[in-house]
Symmetry: C2
Subunit: 227 residues, 2 copies
């Protein structure tokens, strides 16, 4: 096809992994460019996403698109095979609703609970539980949020499917367990059990080491304060 | 057509007005149901939007959809006349990008700046200016964000087009002026000058009174503290 498809991402980011997963599901070959998002963002990234200066950016035939959910919509509209959205407008609206819920409510609540200081933890964990409980209702007995195959909500919920368990291990804060949320827990196993997902996940050990180092950093000031 | 189209909204909310404006642009007749969002939410609203318990909700032939941006996408997919999104996937992605920018960055920054306590105002106003400056670049010399006609970004930016000037008057915090952002200011005039927009705006005086009362409430504790 001679198409130029590039993804500017970061290896440990669930957001650029979303974009890569969608392209892989569609069978679209792409070039991956790793960005140094902590230290030194590239001139290209700043040029392609001057508003947020963040990954991921999809470059398609010279045209840049930012924001992972916007990119996922674009991918589904541009490459028609293996649709990630349902065709029916109402089902599509529901997929968008849950995707938005994952981004606006779920991820922030989980993140906050996992890294919360001890005196704020109980409330933050309760809020995270509420989100997980709500998200579980969206599964509604299905194998994937998308039904029998991975769809938009599954892709968007990759943080819940993979990253969360590693953060839990690093911080010792348990949020999603088989006991509390059996259907959602089963979904995480189904999700990371798919070959196409598995091939597109960052190395668990490397990510765990990163979060453990972060945890040590976050906890340090708290320990100092209590001295 | 015998279709059932209902909008659950609140008269002063830019979010339910977005939904109404889109339906009006499409020429879709609908029944409007005013919700008492401060006092007593109706059993129907809680049933139709159990996750967020908020307006707006669109009910189409018995099926509820929540979240104004999700509703707008649904409306554009369901009723094809007078498209609010551009047809080209890249242009559509750009419309989604700017819509998301309005909701995630612009409105929160403007709201924060307008209601900020005096000691936090300077920083908050600077951040609001940054957002307005960025939003202005999206206009890029066009009459509307959508080009010659009102599109998705115009509808989503209705807060900037109408509500903001009233909040500015109520709080005395000037954010969007013809001096600072001439193109964006001109857009607000174009936007509220459209008949179809004008017919769908809440009464200015009533909204001003509401925001003035709110301002008095917000300022009271600050005045008490400084005593």
């Amino acid at each position: 096809m001679g198409e130029e498809v590039k993804v500017f991402g970061a290896w440990g980011s669930p957001f650029s992994r979303r974009v890569e997963l969608a392209l892989r599901l569609k069978g679209v070959p792409y070039e991956y460019i790793e960005e140094d998002i902590v230290g030194n963002k590239s001139a290209l990234l700043l040029q392609y996403n001057p508003v947020h200066k963040k990954i991921p950016v999809l470059l398609h035939n010279g045209k840049p698109i930012a924001e992972s959910l916007v990119i996922l919509e674009y991918i589904d509209e541009t490459w028609k095979s293996n649709p990630i959205f349902p065709e029916d407008p109402y089902d599509k609206a529901m997929a968008r609703f849950w995707t938005k819920f994952v981004d606006d409510k779920c991820i922030p609540a989980l993140w906050k609970a996992a890294w919360s200081a001890e005196n704020e933890r109980e409330k933050a964990v309760e809020e995270a539980y509420e989100c997980l409980k709500t998200l579980e209702t969206a599964l509604d007995g299905k194998r994937f949020f998308g039904g029998d195959v991975i769809g938009m909500v599954d892709i968007a919920a990759n943080f819940v499917g993979f990253w969360l368990s590693i953060i839990q291990e690093a911080t010792g804060v348990e949020l999603l367990s088989a006991d509390k949320f059996p259907d959602l827990f089963k979904w995480t196993e189904e999700f990371i059990g798919c070959n196409i997902v598995k091939e597109n996940l960052p190395p668990r050990d490397k990510l765990l080491a990163l979060f453990k180092a972060r945890f040590a950093q976050v906890m340090e000031p708290q320990t100092n304060t209590s001295k």
